[in-house]
Amino acid sequence: MTPFEIVEARSLREAVGMLDPEDASVRPIAGGTALMLMMKAGVFRPTRLVSLRLVRGCSDVHVEADGGVRIGALTPLATLEHSHAIQHLLPVIGSTLRMLSNVRVRNVATVGGSLAHGDPHMDLPPVLIALGASVRVVGRGGERVIPVADLLTGYFETQLATDELISELIIPRQNGRRSAYLKCTTRARHDWPTLGVAVSLAVDGDCVREATVVASAATKRPMRIETLRTLLVGQRPDAKLLRTAGEAAAAALTGELQGAAAYMQQLVRVYVERALRQALNSEGGALQ
């Protein structure tokens, strides 16, 4: 590893000031779990790291009056995993985190960091997209809010400018929507996902009112499969519909899948069907 400078900010605003809009070799570091791997591999050689370790006030979970949830960007994943509010309102996040990396990483990695990293092989982003989440971003020019669906733009690429930081994650009230995340690994159980499928459904009696299906890991960025919305909304979710949805998803993603195409298509087919089934069988988060 090449020698580098490390500076510590005490607030997000101070941290933004320490970043350089023109110099990508100055980079923020939160938990550092992903960044360290890239530095050890030698693919990223920073000149300066801006550590967010001492920044206060960005690591809490707030439940809003309207039932939405705001999560500070520096909240460790383990905090989310063990948060009663999250388990109550957004159980799919807890179950996703339990299969995410390992406990040592979760103790240190942060929500904001995992979103800013832009690695396609991650578990949390597709889930957050399915839940309709957004991030608040702070930079020199002020603040803006970006839906997570638009935040991740490509291979390690996000909409964040070089001197912008995520300050919080905003998850809207779910209104009883049922969500599920299925992670497919093809080597050890504890592994990067080969394919991730996140699903969020609003079901009214016997009828699907809203459906969001997101595929990730096998694609360059998490992708909402829009054709499934048309296919599922207004329909009775029986076994045949779920099977058709799986096939439609595989067809929609042809050309986007990285890796062995025919096998990946089969995985998409099967995991979309199973994720839909799991969402339907799950309890929705408590209604607000």
């Binding site: 090449t2 990508a24 070799s25 980079r27 890239m38 050890k40 591999a41 030698g42 693919v43 990223f44 050689r45 832009g118 490509g154 291979y155 390690f156 690429e157 070089t162 360059k220």
Partner: protein
């Protein structure tokens, strides 16, 4: 790692061949080629600067044109070392041109290998970059022929 594909340009085959075997033109179709210098008509030095997101890479390249059969075949070899990290890039490319009406069909096959520290853990990163560069090259090449009826010779 093997990359292969086809590009069609609206231009006669001879013109396309002349353009491709003109090193400065060829280099202009690749994003990040700097300081292209000719050693002799078959050998060139260059610096390649490329990035994946915020990760930058620089390679020192030696390019050799190994076979020229106008107006249909072109073969080249590339050898490069990464700067600041141990990484060796080698690539051989074979290009075949066929004339189809007023278009030229360019078929290419590139076999590339990345070894050393960069090749050890950086492989998926640079593979995705290779695909991106391929797309960029194709679009620049097409654009060049759309711009002027006869590219520089």
């Amino acid at each position: 790692m093997k990359v292969s594909g086809q590009i069609r340009v609206r231009a006669p085959r001879e013109a396309v061949f002349n353009a491709l075997q003109d090193a400065p033109f060829f280099a202009s179709c690749i994003d990040g080629v700097r300081q292209l210098t000719e050693i002799d008509p078959a050998h060139y030095n260059a610096i390649l600067e490329t990035a994946v997101a915020y990760m930058k890479f620089r390679f020192k390249l030696l390019i050799e044109v190994t076979r020229k059969r106008p107006p249909s075949e072109l073969e080249a070899r590339l050898e490069g070392t990464a700067l600041g990290i141990v990484g060796r890039l080698t690539a051989t490319s074979t290009t075949r041109l066929t004339q189809e009406a007023d278009e030229t069909n360019i078929e290419y096959e590139i076999e590339a290998a990345l070894t050393g520290k960069l090749g050890s853990l950086g492989q998926p990163l640079l593979r995705s970059k290779a695909k991106e560069m391929e797309r960029e090259f194709a679009s620049r090449l097409r654009a060049a022929f759309e711009r002027t009826p006869e590219p520089p010779s």
